[in-house]
Symmetry: C2
Subunit: 461 residues, 2 copies
């Protein structure tokens, strides 16, 4: 840590701040009620999400649509009278799915089509890949099966998300390695392609895409997600005929990185203008569906936080920064660039909140924070219970804000109800119609309320 930052940190720690046990509960209750009245009575986030989903649509990093979304976000934040609205340049990957993706096998002389979609970052098949299929449940199975039986085949990773976990995010985390690392792990044993069971609890015909990456030292083989219904069909067909031939065609292409941008906007703080509370989500989405829950919801909620605070003439003590990050889905260059620029410019980030788990009814917040900050939040949190915000826990905050992590910043993730998220996540079903207006608004209200509490009480300091 350099001298300037050390000094700033010391000032921080000595900083005069209201004690939590000096909480003015009545003032807090009144202001928080006003926040919810504003968002439920005059909310604009659902309409803003409609524009983002229907007029712009899916917006993968490197796409023209993401370029449009950046201009839309910038313009909307200016319309809401934010201070200092700027674009922060970010280099992002560019990858396209191309215009076809097909897969089928022949069983009992019938051609059975699978609904598949390329994983983000996959190479194309360069013609069709036709091969036998070997089904596995986990990466470790590959070693046990061995190169002889895998070579020349398509590896089919078919481990379902664990239905017994209450938080579906944990179930996703437990099945994620098949998608993220499966291709390179299978390629080590000579596989020519991979199919990955879609990461969803839903039994349906929609494949769910998502990021994968290749190791440098193994061949790059094509990787696709297969819908859960088609994964079951393939599983049963393989029991009947283990040597069936599977054909897959993917038309994806990778390009050179291109420059796009995070969008940053502020409400300047009156007392600690050089200390920032970030509120954000990510503007990019996958290229199928509309990126409504992931993460259009987080974007319009973050913008709504600014709109609400402006509408209530709230003058924050700290500078509130709304950040629309880019490239969360396949690189996190938006989050990394934001944090690197903050470090380079010695910006003090007091706290950051991210909404990137869907626009569902808010249940609480998860904290990556000091013990003090977390304890202080817990002492003040009951004021949010009337609004259905009951949960608090230590744990993951958000991909975009995570690069800001250090010993003193408070990183917070909004926890919406998790049950339906993976029904939509990274699939064609992630559309505006599946986002409930009130659930989205309540999420924005809970974020604005938390910003208010962080700003008033400097929880961690």
């Amino acid at each position: 840590m350099d001298a300037i930052k050390k000094t700033i940190l010391i000032i921080f720690m000595l900083g005069v701040s209201p004690l939590i046990n000096g909480q003015d509960e009545s003032a807090d209750s009144t202001f928080i009620r006003a926040i919810y009245d504003e968002v439920l009575g005059n909310g604009e986030c659902h309409e803003n999400l409609h524009y983002l989903c229907k007029e712009i649509g899916a917006r993968l990093s490197g796409s023209e649509e993401l370029g449009e979304a950046i201009l839309w976000g910038e313009s909307l934040l200016k319309k809401y009278n934010a201070d200092n609205v700027v674009q922060q340049p970010v280099m992002v990957p560019k990858w396209t799915r191309g215009n076809y993706e097909n897969a089928y096998f022949v069983s009992n002389k019938n051609m059975v089509r699978s609904r598949i979609t390329a994983l983000g970052g996959s190479v194309g098949t360069n013609g069709a890949v036709e091969a036998e299929v070997i089904e596995v449940k986990k990466l470790e199975d590959l070693e046990a099966i061995g190169k002889e039986k895998i070579e020349g085949k398509i590896v089919f990773f078919n481990r379902a998300m664990d239905p017994l976990l209450i938080n579906t995010g944990n179930a996703y985390g437990g099945a994620y390695d098949q998608r993220s690392k499966g291709a390179s792990e299978a390629a080590k044993y000579g596989a020519v392609g991979t199919l990955v069971r879609s990461l969803t609890h839903a039994q349906d015909t929609f494949p769910h895409t998502g990021a994968m990456s290749y190791l440098d030292d193994v061949p790059r083989i094509p990787a696709a997600a297969i819908s859960t219904v088609d994964a079951s069909a393939l599983h049963h067909a393989l029991i009947e005929n283990p040597s069936l031939k599977y054909t897959m065609e993917l038309s994806c292409t990778s390009y050179e990185d291109v420059e796009q941008a995070n969008v940053i906007a502020e409400i300047t703080g009156s007392e600690f203008p050089d200390e920032y509370i970030v509120v954000g989500g990510h503007l990019d989405s996958w290229d199928i569906g509309e990126g409504a829950h992931d993460d259009g919801a987080g974007i319009v909620q973050s913008i709504e936080v600014l709109r609400i605070l402006k509408a209530l003439n709230y003058q924050p003590r700290h500078t509130i920064r709304i950040v629309l990050f880019v490239n969360e889905e396949n690189g996190n260059n938006g989050g990394k660039t934001y944090a690197a620029e903050a470090e380079k410019n010695n910006l003090i980030h007091f706290a950051a909140i991210e909404s990137d788990a869907g626009g569902f009814s808010p249940r609480g917040f998860s904290f990556e924070a000091t013990d003090d900050a977390y304890t202080n939040y817990k002492s003040i949190a009951p004021v949010l219970e009337d609004y259905g915000v009951h949960m608090s826990r230590r744990g993951w905050s958000g991909v975009d804000i995570r690069p800001l992590k250090n010993d003193y910043v408070t990183l917070i993730g909004l926890i919406p109800d998790t049950q339906r998220y993976f029904d939509f996540h990274h699939s064609k079903r992630d559309t505006w119609e599946n986002v409930n207006k009130r659930e989205l608004e309540l999420g924005a209200g809970s974020m604005a309320s938390l910003v208010y509490l962080l700003d008033q009480y400097r929880l961690g300091k």
Copy 2:
């Protein structure tokens, strides 16, 4: 209170029971985890709901479909090896919507159709009613406007549900009188029909029906719900042309009451077989949609509670009674009959739980109970927090179980997340597709867990 009941009550109050502060948290945690594993891993409630919604469908009291549903429920409970599965006869009203319902007005020479649906219990129009429209916000407005201006007109009750209330059930309660009493109140001033803005927060084109009733001493005039989109259109048209003519046609008919039945099934208690814990919902629904959330969800969850406890070989101390009530929607004769029979036979109801607020993620429970019972529940409730069950409050339990209310019974309503319920409630959108499997299962798991805790700890006693 008669002598026998007094004696029973005294025995009750002296009853030896484990103290809550003797809670075996580890055993409770283990058993509750087993409940959730069973419902999330092997749950059958979502498939059962599919049958009820798709093979039987809407099932209004007095309909053949409700007759089928009664047989289906009885048969399913027997299949799950319930004890003492019986039908309890209940007299219910019979009313039919008929085969047409039309409404329109002419504005700027264009015919504008409204999507309406008769309120349950309404008389038909006996030909078309054509009249001017007077728009009001509340019942009390009628007196201020006066008979002269209302006579011969259609009264249009257009008060929206209050969006600022966090619990949508409270917003429903605040707008309900327009639907339930509007027709007779308007008829007192000579109105010839009523239109009621649909009780939903959604801005859509689906009218939402529901119960209404007539006073004996005023003329019975037809009453229909109008979709929120069409209510707005009519509101704006009336501003432009206050004397526009509105035409409505309803083809409903009322018949003599018919006999149908509650279905009752048990798991006999080992220690207190003569004390009952009721778990239920209502089997009847409105005649549009599929009655999926209202209240197919509550029915299949109640049956699932029995299936879970059987699957886990749980031997309850008290007798658990699953009750599939009929006629909640338009008379509550199922609930009233059940309570009257219980009273006649001096049955001791220790507690009753109802699920009738939709198959959404469970958030907690509301209690109509003694202070002791409620305090005891609060002390034991943290064991449910891992499953997202955080809320407890005093308040409304459920329509079907309410007639059991006395000084000692503990009546409990499941509180699911309320935000989406009225998007579907009493409309064509209340279909199986709109019920999420995991949310439904978590509700059943939370009910089974509460039954276990009530049974183990005799909370109120």
